[in-house]
Symmetry: C2
Subunit: 409 residues, 2 copies
């Protein structure tokens, strides 16, 4: 402990000295707009929120009462709740994933799951491979590491450009991991074709690079049968991130990872450092709910309701948006991705949409990983949060604005 | 995106490549022992657990039922729950801390609060000032930053050696922050004298170095009147970390920070990246509980119960431990710190305590921040988790072992 005077650094006269990366941390312009817009009366297609009307409240109240009344450990610190792991193994089987309880790691929501994996895998300044347009929460996870981001394009009908991934890896790229949303992409709404799933997993195996597969929408499929997640094709190189937020309720903050068993002890150390343990009460509540309620019935109901909303939004887009607008009707997830003529600046459009029409959405440029905002003419529209009648009303209002903009130009 | 072949690194043939710091991450020998010891029938003085018998279960069930039945936002994603902030301001006033709702930041437990502050304040390789023996959870928080730890000694009757802190700072040390547990120190059981509180805060002001004040046991005081936390003496340079875990229940994973208002927007960005938001349901549950139950009555009951357990442990230590054992009866918190003759190795003692006597405690060396384990003859004993009769029984068993060891040497 020999502190030489030259260790002293100059401090600003007024404020606390923050770590360098944190000095510029602030809400983005977009976040400020959306924060201000979170008011009653706004039709919001902005966030990826489920509809509280569809939460299984009665079953949750029943489970909550039973857990609190009967289980004295439900309010104490505690290790991961083993019966919940069993329930998760059963859930994963519905997605055609074969796994064991020893491969399940319970987290305080999926966002924490991604953080823990990044913490274990990513060096400061290390490489990460992802798509050019991607979930902002993932970008927040890697930001403190100041990583070198290798970004690849995405085909909005088929998913991540696997050929570019292959080419990068062949040329020596060595990312700590590949980040992928295989079903119901956020924000691009696409699901990977089976061929691409197989190719991507094969690349992971060949180059021994793990894939972090983020699958919050995996259970929300609207076609006849959903393709299995990447984890179904490989149990060593795909680290699966699962969430109860979109299939039960987001409030309970419980998610899970499916990882090779060897990673679990390391994850448990990083997890303990993060927040000690995952809420022992809500773990038991969810486990009890899954034991005594019919989750298949609940999932069918969600798929039916969200499918109707998807169809209402597709119909409204056809009716109210200009013919030049391009979009695919998603067979998974909770978003539409709409591509407008290049002259439409969707960030400016959001301003007038909020002010004049009281409708919110997310401008495409929010999702770009490169500083050059390539999607200034795009928007992400959520269809899970509003009922069909609000969807029709909201899309009509935004469509009118888009047409006005195009007529003015 | 020009990836030169020389970016390739050599990968191990079998395993996933982890970040360097994570390659050696594993449970410690001690954690393995305690993990194996978490069985029924063990009298545990090891962890800092509250007693589930003292949880206000009825009030929590009532509040839970009301929140789930009446508040449709209780299960949705959501911003921090404003009424809970008001309740926390009122709680802080009981500790003589004057603060405003705008200075309260709600976290997924106190452990997350520490992580968020470290994330904002600490550079990789930066300096941190703390005591030689300190809460292991704090050591885990800073470990990924590979910090330079400036450690100072602690007087077990008066607290952190403020003169050494002053000397380090005068000689040019420039830590990102000072970490301090002012009341009911973990593991040393000491509470800072008022003079030391004033001196430490004055140093923080003078050198413009924030103090992270970790105060999980602040409300658990057993003397006539508790000293206020450091935050009561300064609202700019003390960042307070609060917790409901020891005063209500740990399961709900809700804690809070009291910080200068200017830090809140930055904290909210780092928080969102960590786990989106704090459980909206348990935030409302706690807020409702605090509104309709008598928290002062509950805290009095806890203090009365824990005071009786402290006294039972003091009495048992006097009766069953050798006269050479040194300890202070704590007026705050949930621990005793016992100093045995140097010849007693408490890690070895733990092994036989578990095997022969079925009693657990934490050996002192677990808490050392320096690799040289200076407290191999010390142990931390928790008195909040076991009732007085178990305390007497457990201390008698450990005391017998300690005497056997001393007789053998």
């Amino acid at each position: 402990m020999n502190i030489a005077p030259n260790l002293a650094v100059t401090r600003p006269t007024e404020a606390v000295l923050l770590a360098k990366w944190a000095q510029n941390v602030k809400r983005s312009q977009l976040q400020e707009i959306l924060f201000a817009a979170a008011k009653p009366g706004i039709i919001s297609f902005a966030m990826g929120l489920p509809d509280p009307e569809l939460f299984p409240v009665k079953g949750l109240i029943r489970a909550s009462r039973q857990v609190l009344a009967s289980d004295s450990l439900a309010l104490q610190y505690g290790p991961p709740f083993q019966p919940l792991k069993s329930r998760i193994v059963e859930l994963m089987a519905k997605r055609k994933v074969v796994c064991r309880e020893e491969q399940i790691f319970i987290t305080t929501g999926a966002q924490q799951g991604m953080n823990l994996l990044a913490r274990l895998l990513l060096e400061p300044g290390g490489q990460v491979l992802t798509e050019e347009m991607i979930y902002t929460g993932f970008q927040q996870v890697i930001e403190p590491y100041a990583p070198r981001v290798l970004s690849v394009p995405t085909d909005v009908r088929a998913g991540i450009d696997v050929a570019v991934v292959a080419s990068l890896l062949a040329r020596g790229a060595c990312p700590a991991f590949i980040y992928a949303i295989s079903s119901g992409h956020n924000p691009l709404a696409v699901s990977l074709t089976e061929a691409k799933r197989l190719q991507l997993v094969e690349l992971a195996r060949q180059y021994r690079i793990p894939i972090i597969e983020d699958d919050p929408y995996g259970f929300l499929n609207y076609g006849d049968e959903a393709l299995p997640p990447l984890r179904a094709y490989d149990d060593q190189w795909v680290f699966y991130v699962g969430s109860f937020s979109k299939i039960l309720t987001p409030a309970l903050r419980v998610g899970w990872l499916v990882v090779p068993e060897s990673l679990v002890p390391k994850l448990s150390v990083v997890k303990e450092a993060s927040d000690i343990d995952t809420n022992t009460f809500t773990q038991r509540l969810i486990s009890r709910f899954l034991e005594q309620e019919d989750i298949d019935l609940h999932l069918s109901m969600l798929r039916r309701e969200y499918r109707a909303r998807r169809d209402a939004m597709a119909q409204a887009l056809r009716e109210h948006f200009p013919a030049a607008a391009k979009w695919e009707s998603p067979d998974h997830g909770v978003f539409f991705w709409v591509d407008l003529p290049y002259k439409v600046d969707t960030l400016a459009l959001l301003d007038s949409a909020l002010e004049k029409e009281r409708v919110a959405f997310i401008p495409g440029q929010a999702f770009g990983v490169e500083p050059s905002n390539r999607a200034t003419n795009c928007m992400r529209l959520n269809f899970s949060h509003s009922n069909p009648s609000l969807i029709r009303e909201g899309i009509a209002r935004v469509g009118k604005l888009v047409k006005e903009v195009l007529n003015r130009i």
